[in-house]
C-alpha cells in the first residue's frame, strides 16, 4: 500500500496533465444541480423568521394567526428542538458542540444576534410562507448588546451568557465574562530575549469580520418519511457532517437519515455546519411533506458564518543581522454569539513560518452579538499572519533588509519543531522563498509610483478519514466513488489519480460524489484534505483493482500472479513458457463473471502524514494620492504544493485565495450600526472583488518538495493562499504612506488619512 515513507518514482502519464474536469460539461450548460435546484412532488416552501434585535429575551411567540392562514402546513420554534439531545461530535477541523449548533439553528430563550432564527414556516407557496412570517408575533425584551471584541472584553460589558466563566485561565476567574476561553502557548524565555534584542518592533493590528462570500446561498430540501426515515438534499462541504448534526439535533439515529449532497456553489469553510437542515427536517416531520429552505443573500450575511474580526498585539525582537530571537503575540478573536473562534489556530500558525527560539502566545475566544463564526479558508491564520507579516515587514525596513532575505534568514527548515508541538517534515518554505526571489516578477523592480509588498503564510493541512471505491464496468469503464463534495475541481484529481494507477485514459474514468448511504464515512471537504486523504483512498482502491486484475489475468493464463505485470492498462505475462497476448482492461472486465465476479474495491482509511504548506505572495500596487484608492497592478502567488495533480486547479486555488485575501485587505468588512444591526448585508455594500478590481494573478507552483506520505506527493493547497495576501497588500500600502497600516480593511478613506498624516 502506498502510505509509505518512500514516494515511488513513477513515470506519470496523467498526473500533472490538464484534462477537462469530469463534471465540467454539466457546469457550463446549466445541467449541474445545486442546492436550490431540487424539487420534489408536494414540496412546500419554507421561510425563517429572524430576530431584528442583536440581543433580546424571547418573552413569547404566538403562532396562532400564522397557523390559521390557509396554505400554512407547519410552524416550528425553539420549543420543537430538544436540547437534551446535545453532545459533542468530532467533525471537520474542530469538535462541534451540537447544543450550540441547535440553538444557532433555532433560538431558545434569547436571540443572540440580529438574524438569529426564532421561528420557521412551511407553506404551499413562498408568498404564503412570507405572509405567515409576518403573522407570527414574537414579543422581545430587548437587552443591551455588544458587537466588537474589545468592547465585549471590557468589565461591565453586556453578557451573552451570565454564567460563562473563562476556561484556560488559572486560577479560574470568579466573575463571568464574554471571554469563553484563554489559551497560552510558547517556548523559551521571551522576556529575556526581548531585552537582549538589538531591535524590537511592536504594534496592534485589527481585522474586520469578513464573510466567505460563496455565491450560492445555503439551500436544502428535507423529506421525512412515514417510517421515520428521512432524506436531506443539501449544499454542503460534508454530507456526513450534515447527517451527524441534523440527526443529533432532531434526535434520531444516523441510519434513519440519508444526506445527498448537491453540487456546491462555493463553501470556503462556510458550509461545514448546518443552519437550515434541522429546521427543514423538523418542518417536514410536522407536516409529512418535503420542505425546501433557501437563504436569501441577506440571510447569508446576517445568519451564516463570517470569520472572526480580530485584535492582535504583536512584538518581535531581532538581532542586527536579522535573526529574530523573540516573538510574542496576544490575539483576541470574535467568536460570534457562541464560543469557538479559530483563535487557537491563529496562535498555532502565527509564527509557524519562522524558527524562533523564544515565543509567547496568548489567545482569547470572545463572544459578542454577531452571527457565530464559521470556518473560512485557513481559519484563524490570515489575521495572525497579517499582524506578524506586517511586523516582519517593519523589521525589514528598519534593518534595511530585503523582505525575502529576512524571511529566508528565519525560515523554518526541515525538522524544525513548531510551537504547537509538531515536527515539520518535507516542508518547502525556503524553496518557495527562493523561487520568488528568482522570479522576474520579483527581480524586476516595481514601476514608478508602484510599491511592492511581500508576505508569507503557513497552513497545517490535514488528512483524516476518507472512503473511496473504484468499480470496473463490464466494458472496461472505471467509476470512482468518493464522498467529498467537489468545491474546486477535486473530482478531476480523483479520476486522474485512478486513471494513473490503472493505466487507462482519464476520459474512461467517471467521478461520483456519493450520499451518506452509498459509501463509507468521510470527513468534510475542508482542511485542504481531499486530494491528499481521499486521493489516498482512491489510489489504494485503484491499486487493489490492479492487484485483482492481475489475479484474473493469472487465472486466465493459468500462471502464478507473480508472473503477471500490469502496465499501461494491460496485463503482461512474464512467464516465458506462455505464448499469450497481453490482456487489456476491457477484455478482463468483459469476462469478470468467469474470473471471480464483479471487479470493485472500497477503501476506508484515516490518512496520516499530511504535510504543511507555505505560501509567499508579492503584491505590486499604486494608490491615488488624492482619493486613497488602491489599484493592484501585479500579483504573484508562490506555494509549496508538493505535487500538482491537475496544475490548473492548483493554480486556481492560489488565484482564488489571493483574490479573497485582497478583498479582505482592501474592502470587505461587516459594518454594524449603533443599534447592533448589520448595515451592509448585500453584495452591493459588502464589497468583494469584481473582475475589474484585479490583475492577472501569476502563480509559481513549487514542486521540489513532494510529500513522501502521499503516493503522488500531494500536499493540501486550498487554504494557504488566503494567508499571505492581507499583509502583502498592507505592506505595499505601508511603503507608500510611510506609515504602518494596521487596521483592515484598507479602505480609500483610511489610506487617504494615512497619506495626509491624519
Amino acid at each position: 500500500m502506498s502510505d509509505g515513507d518512500d514516494a515511488p518514482a513513477r513515470e506519470l502519464k496523467v498526473v500533472g496533465q490538464r484534462p477537462v474536469r469530469p463534471d465540467g460539461a454539466d457546469k457550463v450548460t446549466g445541467r449541474a444541480m445545486f442546492g436550490a435546484d431540487f424539487r420534489l412532488p408536494g414540496m412546500l416552501a419554507g421561510r425563517v423568521k429572524r430576530s431584528p434585535h442583536p440581543h433580546a429575551r424571547i418573552v413569547s411567540i404566538d403562532t396562532t394567526a400564522a397557523a390559521a392562514l390557509p396554505g400554512v402546513k407547519a410552524i416550528v420554534t425553539g420549543a420543537d428542538f430538544d436540547l437534551a439531545a446535545a453532545g459533542k461530535i468530532e467533525a471537520g477541523e474542530s469538535a462541534t458542540d451540537v447544543k450550540s449548533v441547535s440553538i444557532n439553528c433555532m433560538a431558545h430563550e434569547k436571540a443572540l444576534y440580529q438574524g438569529h432564527a426564532v421561528a420557521a414556516v412551511a407553506a404551499t407557496s413562498a408568498e404564503i410562507a412570507d405572509e405567515a412570517l409576518d403573522l407570527i408575533e414574537v414579543t422581545y425584551e430587548v437587552l443591551p448588546h455588544v458587537i466588537d471584541v474589545e468592547d465585549a472584553m471590557k468589565d461591565g460589558a453586556p453578557l451573552l451568557y451570565p454564567d460563562m466563566i473563562t476556561t484556560g485561565e488559572s486560577p479560574a476567574p470568579t466573575e463571568p465574562s464574554n471571554i469563553a476561553s484563554k489559551m497560552v502557548a510558547g517556548c523559551g524565555d521571551v522576556k529575556g530575549a526581548m531585552e537582549r534584542a538589538d531591535i524590537v518592533v511592536e504594534g496592534r493590528y485589527r481585522t474586520a469580520a469578513v464573510h466567505q462570500g460563496y455565491i450560492e446561498p445555503h439551500a436544502c430540501v428535507a423529506s421525512w418519511g412515514a417510517d421515520g426515515q428521512a432524506v436531506v438534499w443539501a449544499s454542503t462541504q460534508g454530507q456526513f457532517l450534515v447527517r451527524a448534526l441534523t440527526a443529533k439535533i432532531c434526535n434520531m439515529p444516523l441510519s434513519d437519515l440519508k444526506v445527498i449532497p448537491s453540487e456546491i456553489g462555493g463553501g470556503f469553510g462556510g458550509k461545514t455546519t448546518v443552519y437550515l437542515e434541522p429546521v427543514a427536517l423538523t418542518l417536514s416531520r410536522k407536516c409529512g411533506r418535503p420542505v425546501k429552505l433557501v437563504m436569501s443573500r441577506e440571510e447569508v450575511f446576517i445568519a451564516s458564518g463570517p470569520t472572526s474580526g480580530s485584535v492582535i498585539d504583536v512584538k518581535l525582537g531581532a538581532m542586527k543581522d536579522g535573526t529574530i530571537i523573540a516573538a510574542e503575540a496576544t490575539l483576541a478573536y470574535q467568536a460570534g454569539a457562541f464560543p469557538g473562534s479559530p483563535v487557537n489556530l491563529g496562535c498555532m500558525t502565527a509564527f509557524a513560518c519562522y524558527d524562533i527560539e523564544n515565543v509567547g502566545l496568548v489567545g482569547y475566544d470572545v463572544v459578542s452579538n454577531r452571527p457565530k463564526v464559521a470556518a473560512y479558508r485557513a481559519p484563524g491564520a490570515p489575521m495572525a499572519a497579517f499582524a506578524v507579516e506586517s511586523a516582519i515587514d517593519e523589521l525589514a525596513l528598519k534593518l534595511n533588509m530585503d523582505p525575502i532575505d529576512l524571511r529566508l534568514k528565519n525560515a523554518v527548515r526541515e525538522g524544525a519543531k513548531a510551537v504547537y508541538g509538531a515536527t515539520l517534515k518535507s516542508i518547502g518554505f525556503v524553496e518557495t522563498l527562493e523561487a520568488v526571489k528568482a522570479h522576474p516578477n520579483y527581480t524586476t523592480p516595481p514601476a514608478p509610483g508602484v510599491t511592492r509588498g511581500v508576505a508569507a503564510g503557513f497552513w497545517f493541512n490535514i488528512g483524516g478519514e476518507s472512503s473511496a471505491s473504484v468499480h470496473v464496468d463490464e466494458d472496461g469503464g472505471v467509476t470512482v466513488v468518493s464522498a467529498n463534495p467537489d468545491i474546486g475541481g477535486s473530482r478531476a484529481s480523483m479520476v486522474m489519480m485512478a486513471a494513473e494507477v490503472i493505466g487507462v485514459p482519464v476520459e474512461h474514468v467517471r467521478g461520483i460524489v456519493a450520499d451518506t448511504a452509498s459509501i463509507g464515512f468521510s470527513s468534510t471537504t475542508g482542511g485542504s484534505r481531499v486530494t491528499f486523504a481521499t486521493g489516498m483512498a482512491v489510489v489504494q482502491a485503484a491499486e487493489r483493482i490492479v492487484e485483482d486484475l492481475k489475479l484474473r489475468a493469472a487465472k486466465t493464463w493459468d500462471c502464478d500472479v507473480s508472473q503477471v505485470d500490469w502496465k499501461e492498462g494491460r496485463a503482461l505475462c512474464l512467464d516465458p513458457s506462455k505464448d499469450v497476448q497481453p490482456l487489456d482492461l476491457r477484455s478482463i472486465a468483459g469476462k469478470s463473471a468467469r474470473t471471480g465476479g464483479p471487479i470493485g474495491a472500497e477503501v476506508s482509511l484515516n490518512a496520516q502524514g499530511a504535510a504543511p504548506g507555505f505560501g509567499v505572495h508579492v503584491c505590486d500596487l499604486k494608490v491615488d494620492p488624492e482619493t486613497g484608492q488602491t489599484t493592484i497592478v501585479k500579483y504573484t502567488a508562490a506555494q509549496d504544493v508538493g505535487r500538482a495533480i491537475h496544475p490548473s486547479y492548483v493554480e486556481g486555488q492560489l488565484q482564488g485565495g489571493a483574490a479573497q485575501g485582497v478583498g479582505w485587505a482592501l474592502n470587505e468588512e461587516y459594518v454594524y450600526g449603533p443599534n447592533g444591526t448589520l448595515e451592509n448585508a448585500s453584495f452591493l455594500d459588502y464589497r468583494m472583488p469584481v473582475a475589474s478590481d484585479l490583475p492577472m494573478i501569476d502563480t509559481i507552483l513549487v514542486e521540489s518538495r513532494p510529500n513522501p506520505r502521499h503516493p503522488f506527493g500531494v500536499k493540501g493547497v486550498g487554504e494557504v493562499p488566503i494567508v499571505p495576501p492581507l499583509a502583502a497588500v498592507a505592506n505595499a500600502i505601508s511603503r507608500i504612506t510611510n506609515k504602518r497600516m494596521t487596521s483592515l480593511p484598507l479602505s480609500p478613506m483610511k489610506v487617504l488619512d494615512a497619506l495626509s498624516g491624519d
Binding site: G24, A25, G30, A36, E127, G266, G652, G656, L694, I697
Partner: protein
C-alpha cells in the same frame, strides 16, 4: 394571489406559463419552466449569476418581473449549446479551467457571450469591466478572463475556416 398567463420565447421555443405580478423572471424560469441553470446568488442584481438575454440585451433575470417577459425573446444558459454542441466559450471555460464551483459559470458564460457578440476582439480591460457584474468568488477571475479572450480568438478564426471550406 393573482396569476397571469405569460407567453414568451425561451431559447427559441414558444412557451406559456402562469406567473405572479411580483414574481421575478428568474423565479419564473426556475420554478415555472424548470430551467434551473440560471442561479440566484443575491436576488438584487449584484452578482450576475442569473444573467440572461432579453431581446438580445444582457440583463439580470432577478431584476425583471415575469410579466415583463410577455412577447420577449429570452435566452438562457440551457440554450447556449446548440444541438448538443458546446459554444466555443463553454469549451474554452473547460479547457482553461475557468470554473471551480461552477455556480457563477452560467451567468458568466451568458455575459461573456453578450460581450463577444458585440465585440469580437475585446481587450483584457474590456473583458474585466464588462464582466464586473458577474461575481466569482472561487477563481480570482484570472482563468475566466483568459477563457473569454481565448474563446474570442477561436471565434475570430472560425468564420475564416468556414470560408475556406465553402
Amino acid at each position: 394571489m393573482s396569476r397571469i398567463r405569460i407567453a414568451t420565447t425561451v431559447n427559441g421555443e414558444p412557451v406559456e406559463f402562469l406567473g405572479g405580478g411580483s414574481q421575478s423572471l428568474l423565479d419564473a424560469l426556475r420554478d415555472e419552466l424548470g430551467l434551473t441553470g440560471s442561479k440566484e446568488g443575491c436576488g438584487t442584481g449584484d452578482c450576475g449569476a442569473c444573467s440572461v438575454m432579453v431581446d438580445g440585451r444582457l440583463v439580470c433575470s432577478c431584476l425583471m418581473l415575469a410579466p415583463e417577459a410577455e412577447g420577449r425573446r429570452i435566452e438562457t444558459i440551457e440554450g447556449m449549446a446548440e444541438n448538443g454542441e458546446l459554444h466555443p466559450l463553454q469549451t474554452s471555460f473547460l479547457d482553461e479551467a475557468a470554473l471551480q464551483c461552477g455556480f457563477c459559470t452560467p451567468g458568466l458564460l451568458i455575459a461573456a457571450k453578450a460581450l463577444l457578440d458585440r465585440n469580437p476582439d475585446p481587450t483584457e480591460t474590456e473583458v474585466r469591466y464588462w464582466l464586473a457584474g458577474n461575481v466569482c468568488r472561487c477563481t480570482g477571475y484570472d482563468k475566466v478572463v483568459r477563457a473569454v479572450m481565448s474563446a474570442a480568438a477561436t471565434m475570430r478564426q472560425a468564420p475564416k475556416a468556414t470560408e475556406a471550406v465553402t
